[in-house]
Symmetry: C2
Subunit: 388 residues, 2 copies
């Protein structure tokens, strides 16, 4: 009998809105969004899941949400039980939190045409997105990221995931949100480390794709370090725009082995794990960028002048370029890190390096001795800073 | 700041192969498939998960698989630990079985470019497909369905799922397989009930889409009941072809509320549950088709002549048209069934009825009294059969 060939395309669209004071009663960004879905014959619901860490900064948030939705009842019915879960990496490590969200979806009759709304940092959005993606084979998911990192990077992308037996993002799916709402005023809740942390992804995307954006970051590094809200607003918008363009024009669900946006990430993932998540993701990415930039010079790609500019901007923003865990058994730990990175992506090892500022280049192997030399280089840089 | 608009399409392709003796050493269908993936730089692996119920009929299967793969080592490395799990609905009810597959994927280093192969009936394929879909955000999944139902319907489609707190397919995803291998000789393992059961989906798809195929089933009902392998081969191929065409030309991941292929299924799902899964899915679907066909006459769509032809072919194949649980608290149970069906699909209630043989028509409400009358009609039919 003849072989049957199946072939189709699945279309996805979503918007990323930028606003301030999302739940202020006069702000219609969110209410207009819900009103665009009104359809005769049934009522959609919205279930909220909030990051407890964020809630501590905005204790009035649940009340604001309830007030806001009382004015949108014609379009959507708020589930009055607002779920509050711990944020940060803990959200992704505890399977019971996944169960809590799925149970709430079941109990409150959230169906494929209703909404599960996550508010918080990247970790809780990853958890909420995963629970939403697998309930009823996918209920509509809205992300309201509250950190620089989630507003400019993970929150605007198409992935979700939780950790499993210590392996980061072992369980997850590709499931685009139905909308993302970036509220600049939520960033006031961040401490300096978290404010800074999200900038690492902007440096990353600039280095591999856009020299002009890197030069803009260079020119504005001081203002960013001083927490200028306007400068941060532009950084987030441009970074989100590049992230979204990259997904659209590339391989959105990563069927291939390539993952260009993971520049600097293979070492970063391992470093987060080695420090027991005591350093933030963005802090680890900054070190990972530094390491792969030094390595790029060592294999004759990037120039030393460019490297010095990269290291200078990372430092000017207040990041460390080095962590002692990087050198601890570095040959073993980092080699394992490379292997785990390859396993999670699958297929052939594919690592992004820098050809020059604004232009990444993929390689399929890394030399353990040269990695060790790059670690030594950053350690030397670190020691000289300590002495200066 | 300007709203960002994301929009992209994700392409999917897969083949459905039809063969006999898939693991016979001279059969190259499977080995050719694996050889088409060979790529320098890494070795792909294949992890097998087998339905224990099927294995009881083919105790030599693991040895056959090992022998077969020893000849394909250039292309793919078989994981020698072949996982055997209980099949049937139990596979979807026990979360520990999901964990077992995920653990095996982790332990054996199955990455996104390696394969998880499920062999068995629809339930175990739903479980294996789900575990594969969420591990590393999706490892490649091969389905080898061993029942009529899974070869012509669920196994060639794009869904997976497990049950959660008694709710069918509450957790799952849309995740197309990378390939499906339908081996006709595996159907010899089926008892008469399971052989027959899969024919219900063929009647269903014929009734809503293809009058000529319905007439072919009418003409071949006796041969099908007598287990003619050649006739079954055609039925499976045509049914799979229509299923695949339907997915391609429609809404593959069911973003809308419509689900035409669920004709006869709302009552079937409830009946399976009410009988504690003592009746097979296909047996329940046959009754569900009968019920919605009678209902279609009652609302002035289908003609009575056509109804009699439909009921006759269902009976000729050996199906019951009625189950006493259908009448038990029918107004409450069936109304709940409708509600649960709507909730799982989400949005507005959308039910497929028959305009005529070969042409379905969607409605957005069903009348409880007319449903009860349709149940009475089938019960009367049933009683008269008992007396005849």
């Amino acid at each position: 009998m003849q072989t049957l060939q199946q072939s189709f395309q699945v279309p996805y669209t979503y918007s990323i809105f930028f606003t301030k004071g999302l739940f202020s009663l006069k702000n219609t960004v969110l209410s207009s969004f819900f009103r665009s879905f009104v359809e005769a014959g049934f009522q959609r619901k919205a279930l909220f899941v909030i990051d407890g860490g964020f809630l501590a900064h905005y204790p009035s948030l649940p009340q604001s949400i309830i007030s806001y939705f009382s004015g949108v009842e014609d379009a959507v019915k708020l589930v009055p039980d607002i779920l509050v879960l711990p944020g940060g990496e803990e959200a992704k490590n505890d399977p019971a939190l996944f169960d809590k969200i799925v149970e709430a979806i079941d109990e409150h009759g959230i169906d494929r045409h209703s909404f599960v709304v996550g508010i918080g940092g990247g970790a809780i959005l990853d958890l909420v997105g995963y629970a939403a993606a697998v309930s009823h084979r996918g209920v509509k998911h809205i992300r309201i990221p509250t950190t620089v990192l989630s507003q400019n990077d993970s929150g605007v992308g198409v992935k979700n995931g939780i950790n499993y037996r210590g392996k980061k993002n072992f369980l997850g799916t590709f499931a685009p949100p139905i909308a993302v709402f970036n509220d600049l005023s939520f960033l006031q809740s961040l401490d300096d480390r978290d404010w800074r942390s999200g900038i690492a992804e902007a440096i990353k995307v600039a280095l591999i794709k856009d020299k002009a954006f890197f030069e803009w970051i260079e020119a504005n590094a001081e203002a960013l370090a001083q927490r200028s809200e306007d400068v941060m607003a532009y950084l987030i918008h441009r970074c989100a725009e590049m992230h979204v363009e990259h997904i659209r024009s590339g391989d959105p669900f990563e069927f291939g082995s390539s993952r260009p946006l993971d520049f600097g990430h293979w070492a970063a993932h391992k470093l987060e794990y080695l420090t027991d998540f005591q350093i933030r993701h963005g802090e680890a990415v900054a070190i990972g960028i530094a390491l792969d930039s030094v390595y790029s010079v060592k294999v004759g790609k990037l120039s030393d002048d460019e490297l010095q500019r990269i290291l200078a901007v990372i430092q000017k923003l207040g990041f460390d370029l080095y962590h002692p865990k990087l050198a601890e058994n570095d040959k073993i730990n980092l080699r394992n890190g490379l292997r785990e990175f390859r396993e999670h992506l699958g297929g052939r090892l594919t690592i992004m390096l820098l050809d020059r500022i604004g232009k990444g280049v993929e390689v399929h192997e890394m030399d353990a001795d040269l990695i060790a030399e790059a670690v030594d280089y950053l350690e030397g840089h670190f020691s000289s800073l300590l002495m200066s």
